[in-house]
Every structure is written in C-alpha cells, then in structure tokens.
Symmetry: C2
Subunit: 513 residues, 2 copies
C-alpha cells in the first residue's frame, strides 16, 4: 500500500490544537483506567462512589473536549493548505477527526454526559446481580433509563433523512455505518450461514470434542494462555492480563494495555480463545504509534476494525491446524498426563466445534454472527420505538428459536447475558460481525503478501503476521476510515465472501463434507 | 468521652461550600486510585504517561480546591454562629479544616503542584531501579530536584519565626507539629530506648527464633494473613489486599480501602506484621463515617493518629501473647506439619525478637524508632540547608553506626531503602514514631475501659477493641487535632511513658530480665 508523505510544516495554531486535544485525551485515559478498575479490582461496596468519580471525569472530559478554543483553532487550521492539502497526512487526519469529534461533543449537553456516565456505572452493577439471579425485571427500570438517555443522545446528534436513531449512536463505534448498511450485509449473510449450518448439522461426521471434555487446573491454564499470548506478540512490559466476568481489552495508551480473560476448569479453549482474542485487541493498541498518543493518528479506526484484529488472532490464527501443530507440545508441557492421549485432530477439532448454543461469547465462529444479528435487530427496534424494553425477553427468545432453533431456558442465558446495554452501549454489537468480515478479508490479503504464512505458524513464528498488521493497519491510526482502510489494504470493498470461504474451507473437511 | 451535640442548623452557604469541597475531594480520590494503580498494577512502560495523568489530576484538583468561591463561602459561614458556635460540631469542624486547607492550597502556584506530581511519579521509578542496583548516584539528581521543589513549597507555605522549613512541610502530615516538638520528644526517647536496648542485648536469655527460621509456601501465607485480617475486622466487601514492594494502605473512601502486603517464603511474620499493620490503617479508613465522605469530618486526623491505628493492631494486638494463644491453631491449620513442633513460646517469642538491623520496615518495635530518628535528623538538616543531598549516604551510615552500632553494607540497605523521599514526602517520617507513642497511650485507655480486653483476644474476639476505636477515634474524623484527640481519649497529653511501659512489660520477661 502507498502512503502519502506527511507534510513537514506545522503551525502555531496546529500545535496549540494538538495540545488541547491531548489534554482531553489524557483525562479520557484516566477515565478508562478508572473504568478498568471497576471491572477488575474494585470492592463490591465501592460502586456508588465510583459512579460519581466516572460522572465527574466524564463531565471534565466533556468540558475539555468542547473548549471553544478548539473550534477557533480548527477554523484556522482547516483553511491552511500546508496542513490539510494532503488528506492522508497526519496533520490533515488529526484536523479532520478532531473536527468530527468536536462537533459531536458539542451537540451533547454536559448534564446528559454526566448522567449517562453515572447511570451506566450504577446500572452495570444492577445488571450483574440481575444476571446472576436471572431476573430481567430487576434490570428493566435501569435499561429503560439507559434507553431513554440514549434516545436523548441520538436526538442531540441527529441522523439523516433516510436514516434512523440507531445510526446516530453507531457513529461513535463505527463511523459512517448506518442500520441500513448493516442490514444490507446481514440479511444475505444470515441466509448463507443458515444454509451452511444446516449442512454441517446434517452431517454424521463431527470433529473430535475430547479436548473440551477434559478438566484442567486453572492455575496451569493461566500459565498456558499467558505463554501463548506472549508468544503471539502481546508485550507484557506494556500491558497486563487479569480476570473478569466478561473478557475485555482496555487500552489507555500504547504503553499500558490491559486485557482480561476468564477460566473454567472444564474448558481451556474458552480461556485460550478469550485470551487470543483480547491479545489481538492488545496487539493493535500496542501497535499504535507512541508519537501520536492522544491524537486521532494514535487511535484505532473503529470498533469493527478493532474486532478484525482480535478475531484474526482468535480465529484465523488460533483455530488453524497450523497453530495447533505448534501449540500441541505446549499443551503437553502445561497439562502433562491429562492430555497424553490427545492427538492433533483432537486439539484442532476441539477448537472448531460448531454448535448452536445460548451464549454469544462461547459461540463458534459460524453461529456467533447469528447472536449479533439478533441483538442488532432488537436494539434497532428499541431505538426506533417499535419495541418496548419490557418486551425484549419475548422477542429475544422467539428469535433464538427462529435463527438457531434454541429454546432459551432463562434470561441469564438469554437477554441478560451481555454487558453492553448495561454500560450504555447501544449500536455496538454489529461491529463484532463486521470485525469477523474484515478479519477474513484482511487475512486473505496477508496470505497473498506472505504465501508461507501458515507454515510460519507451524514453526511458532507469528512475528510476520504481527509486522504486516503493524505496518498495514496499526501504524495508520485513524488515517483511513474503516471502508477506505479495507480498500487500501485489500484492494476491494468489504464483502462477506472471504469469511464464507474461510469457514467453508475449514469446516467442510472437519465435518466430512 | 463526651461529644458536643452537632448543631442542627445548616445554611445555603454551608451546603454550597460542602458541595464544592466534595467535588475537589472526589477528584482527589481518583488521583489516589490512579496512584494505587501505579504501585500495584501498572505495567513498567506505563510510567511516563502515568506521570502526566497524575500531574493533570493534581492540577485540576488544585484548581477545584482553590476556587475563590470557597473563600467567599467560608467568609459567610465563619460569621454565622449557628454554624461555628460549637467548635466540635460537624459544621464548625468542616469550616475550620476547609479554611486551613484552602489557605494552604492557595499559597501554592498551580505550576508547582503539577511539577511536584510529575517529578514524584517519575522519580519514584528511578528510585526503584536505583535501589535495586544500590546506586545512590542514579537517584541523586532526582532527589535533588525533589528537595528543591519541596524547598520552594516550604517557602510558599512559610513557617513561624522560631520555626524552620521542615515545619512547613510537616504540617501536611501532622497539623501543628514542628521540628522542635519532634526533637523534644525524640531526644529523651532515644536515650531511654538505647539504654533499654543495651540491657536486652546484654542478656544471655533470648526468645525463641524458631518460627522465623521456617520456610513456608507463599500461597498458604497469603490465605493465612487474609484470614487473620478479616478476623480482626478488615471488611473485604469494602476493600482489598494486593502485593507491592512497599506495603501501604490507600483509602479513597470508607467503602473502597486498599491494602498491600508482601511475602517472603523465609518469614511469615513479615507478611503477617505488614498485613495487620495495613489492616489497622484500613480499619481506621473503613471506620470513617459514610455520611461525611469528602469532608474533613470524614477524614483521618493526621498521619500520626493513622499510624497509631496500624501500630495498635500490629504491635499491641499482633505481638501479644494473647493474640498468639488464639492464632496458634490457625498457624497449624494453614501450615500443618511444617510447624508441628512449635509451641506458644515459639510463636509469641518469634514475633518479639529485638535485633538492631538495617531495614526500617523489618525492624522490631523498639529499634524501629531509631530508624525514624535518623531519617528525621537527615531531612531536617536537608531542609535547613545544613546537609547536601550528595552527603546523605555518609551521614546515614555514620548515624546508623552511632545509634544502632551497625555498619551499613550498601545504599540499598541504607539510604535508598525507603519510598518516601522519592514520592516527594519530606516531613512524613516522624509520624511513624508519633504513631507508636499514640498507639501505646490509646491502648492503655482501651484497657482501662475494657479490663478483659486481652482475654478477649485469647478467644479471638477483636470486635470490642474495634468498636472502641470506631467510637472513640474513627467516627470523629477531624473533629479534634491529634493532640486534642489524645487528651480527649486518654485524659493526658502525649508522653513516651506508655510506649516504654508496653515495651518493658513485654520484653523484660522474654529476655529474662
């Protein structure tokens, strides 16, 4: 790929702009840390005070991010051709993206920002308890409050004449992506995935599930997944790995990136998959350039692109036969006798079982996307006002029956399973499936650039892929929007074909088709 | 003790004042959390960015704490007798203490506050490396910078005509305490402790040291100390315990109190002592009243009083024979065969070995105070300008020879051992010995109020002491200054007699005197 030469010039106005932007971003990074602490470290009784801390930080951040001086400086910079003459130069990128965020921030009243931060922090804990008790009614009033606040937020942002409220929210996660865009991708994808799923389920051949049925001590699991994540390229001098109910990656800046994972004695593949997934996010964050910390050029493109990085390490790498060729001796090293009878087919097969089930985060590569489609349809309807919060469980369960032929037994394994809505994140879910699509398409491009890539994995060499991702995706920060990045890196717009090719090529042989 | 009835009245001005004070305090609690994270969780490469985060928080905090509106509101409140008529009523206490802090904050330029936060955060990491390498010269330029900034700080604060720069700094840790006050207590105390130490060292009888010579697995040690800290009253639903090089307690508010400890396989008493010590701090923080969070009435009195609480649980409780009567079965429960041959005398004796040694935080109850006196003399001389930073190692080593008859082998075990100066804390050390003195004096008062207290410990009943401390000390927040609290609780001003009585009563029999 080609990159425009950055303009060498910079101006006093531009320098002052970047100083102000970095100030807001620095405070944002503190809020991210405080949020991470809430998920991983905070004692149970700390929640009330924490919600006040987060609301205060959100309010100060909003104040810094809407400083009218930023608007004045943007005006000055935008009319300076030395700065904006080359659209992909760092200065031009920063000016464009700061303008976009500044205009959005300005549309939200400070009071709403503060309220959203406070309610989300509190609601999150009610959700965790409601989930434990499988009691939707306990969470319902909080979700209603969150929906109401998000509707106000959407109205502040506004949406285009042929658009809808959901678009206004999604813009924060996937710039330029509308509900109509998502629907246009999802409808045919669902059809093709459902047909393929039927074929697989009808087959009498199945991959070996033995590896998933062995209980392994959590202490050893932790050493194992740390070793793997380090080996594929996550840098522990610039990050850490902890435990949380819902695995996540919190990147406050490229020198302090925090992953979480979780462990079940009964299934090491869950911990491994989560860890490789979050490591992929982490490698992206660590791959952003330190010189651009606190500016759009040092920021990930979008959640969809972020997810493409996590999915690539989780799926394209971690569920490949070649990965397991390398990993098999490690499994033996960490788990000894308990896995002595297993062969490569058991490990590779165990990582590739397709089975419709209730829980999104435990889903296989194929059915995962159905979980996303269901959530997207529900949040879209909610935001349109076509669906009331109290009716979510009914719709949820009906759609699971229709798409995955499952009878949801309770809300814990149904509409209470995900953290997102409780954190105030509506419009976020589709980025997961977009990530799957981007991931497959990027990986085909990587394979084209490095035809021996899979053989490298067999030898435990993951540095080639990491370097390619660093150079082609991470180092650019927000230089390109997601769709442009896709075209720049792969030469084509995003399509579902690479993902379907990837799934078919791998799963057909495993299922004897 | 008697407590003045709080005035029921409150005014609009007072309410607004408290709102502003709470705002500044809320941000301060975030800074404390970010600081805790730096000590316990932050990956090594995060330090540069962290120093910027802390500097920004310090600057915003300074801005909030010096809001001129606070000054106006204080003026209004101070002239309202309904508020300030009864000096020990919550409103009067808050107004008095807010005024004191406001005047101090106002004296510091924002730029100095920010610079101090940034330099301390960076210097701290240089210190940690310099200590590891036992290389004072690596740390020297940073300490010089810290001393210079603290000298500027002292000049901003000012000191009385018969005072000195050290006084201006100590005021932040121990309100109203001057170098002359400290010297007046320390000089006779040193003489008495040195004489007593000579007697002990001359004796041919020694307590059993067997318990300290047994290697015990760290995993079990951790379970053991957690159990003990929970049992004595630290509430884990409102706090947590982690590991750090230098144990500390970070109380951001009474519902989120964080302790750290450390473990050495070779000595469980180090982990136990540290944990009981920090639990004592934690029990104090958790004993502050939730209704007063963010105001002086919800804040600990001073570091000396804070230390009295940690020392009481560490020494008066944790080094008593009665504690070990209760604890012995727990030792057996957690360490099994490894401790099977030990009796009560081994456990009680092992906790009470007196031996001059290099490291302050590992020192026994008696010699500990000598370590403090040496540090106090050095920092006092530094602040007066009588001693240059480069001459610290020489003076340190000479004084260790004079006071403790020790030849300091290297700076790691000498003047680089403590975190305080690297964190910018000059004027802090004497509060440790003041804490020892307060602790002994408070404990005598507790024994007078509950003559069967020690028998309660034998039965594992620590709730009586905790309740007494909650009611007589914790619940008052900053109602009294340290010296007044001491007189209110014990009926007498602070003297060294209770500490010496405590040490003599316990140690003479153990050393056959």
């Amino acid at each position: 790929m080609t990159t425009a030469t950055p303009t060498k010039s910079s101006t006093t106005e531009y320098d002052e702009l970047i100083t102000l932007v970095r100030k807001a971003s620095l405070l944002g990074s503190t809020a991210a840390l405080v949020d991470w602490d809430q998920e991983t470290m905070m004692p149970p009784r700390g929640v009330e005070h924490r919600s006040r801390q987060l609301a205060q930080l959100a309010s100060i951040h909003h104040h810094l991010a809407t400083d009218p001086r930023i608007g004045d400086l943007l005006d000055a910079c935008e009319s300076d051709q030395r700065l904006v003459g080359v659209a992909t130069a760092p200065e031009a990128v920063n000016i464009r993206e700061v303008r976009r965020r500044y205009e959005r921030h300005k549309k939200l009243p400070a009071e709403l920002v503060e309220e959203l931060a406070k309610v989300s922090s509190l609601a999150h804990h009610v959700w965790a308890e409601a989930r434990k008790a499988s009691d939707f009614d306990r969470f319902r009033p909080w979700l209603e409050k969150i929906v109401e606040l998000n509707r106000r937020k959407a109205e502040c942002y506004g949406w285009s004449d042929d658009g809808e409220p959901w678009d206004a929210l999604a813009e924060d996660y996937e710039t330029g992506c509308t509900a109509a865009d998502v629907q246009a991708v999802f409808t045919p994808l669902r059809k093709r995935l459902q047909d393929f799923l039927s074929d697989l389920m009808a087959s009498s051949t199945r991959p070996s599930n033995t590896f998933n049925e062995i209980t392994l001590p959590i202490e050893q699991q932790e050493k194992f997944v740390r070793d793997v994540s380090k080996h594929i390229g996550f840098d522990y001098s610039r990050g850490r790995l902890d435990r949380s109910t819902h695995p996540f990656c919190s990147g406050t800046h490229c020198h302090d990136v925090r992953l979480t994972t979780r462990f079940h004695e009964a299934n090491v593949n869950d911990a491994l998959g989560s860890t490789m997934h979050e490591s992929g996010h982490g490698i992206y964050e660590q791959g952003l350039l330190a010189e651009h910390i606190g500016t759009p050029m040092g920021h990930a493109v979008s959640l969809g692109i972020h997810e493409s990085q996590s999915r690539m390490w989780e799926n394209q790498v971690g569920r490949s036969r070649e990965f397991w060729v390398w990993c098999m001796p490690k499994v033996t090293e960490y788990f000894g006798d308990a896995v002595a009878s297993l062969g490569l087919d058991d490990l590779y097969g165990g990582a590739n079982i397709v089975k419709p089930d209730f829980i999104r985060v435990e889903a296989d590569e194929l059915t995962y996307n159905m979980h996303i489609m269901i959530r997207f349809e529900i949040e879209r309807a909610i935001m349109r006002g076509d669906l009331a919060v109290r009716d979510i469980p009914g719709v949820w369960n009906r759609t699971y029956k229709e798409y995955l032929d499952l009878d949801v037994p309770d809300d814990r394994r149904g509409c209470l399973q995900d953290i997102h809505w409780s954190s105030g994140d509506i419009g976020y879910f589709p980025t997961y499936t977009l990530g799957n699509l981007y991931s497959a398409q990027f990986f085909e491009a990587a394979l084209e650039a490095m035809p021996d890539l899979l053989e490298q994995f067999e030898k435990g060499e993951f540095g080639g892929l990491k370097k390619w991702l660093n150079e082609n995706i991470h180092a650019h920060g927000r230089r390109y929007r997601a769709a442009d990045l896709c075209r720049t890196v792969t030469g084509k717009p995003l399509t579902a074909d690479p993902l379907l090719r990837h799934l078919e090529r791998k799963l057909r042989p495993l299922y004897g088709l």
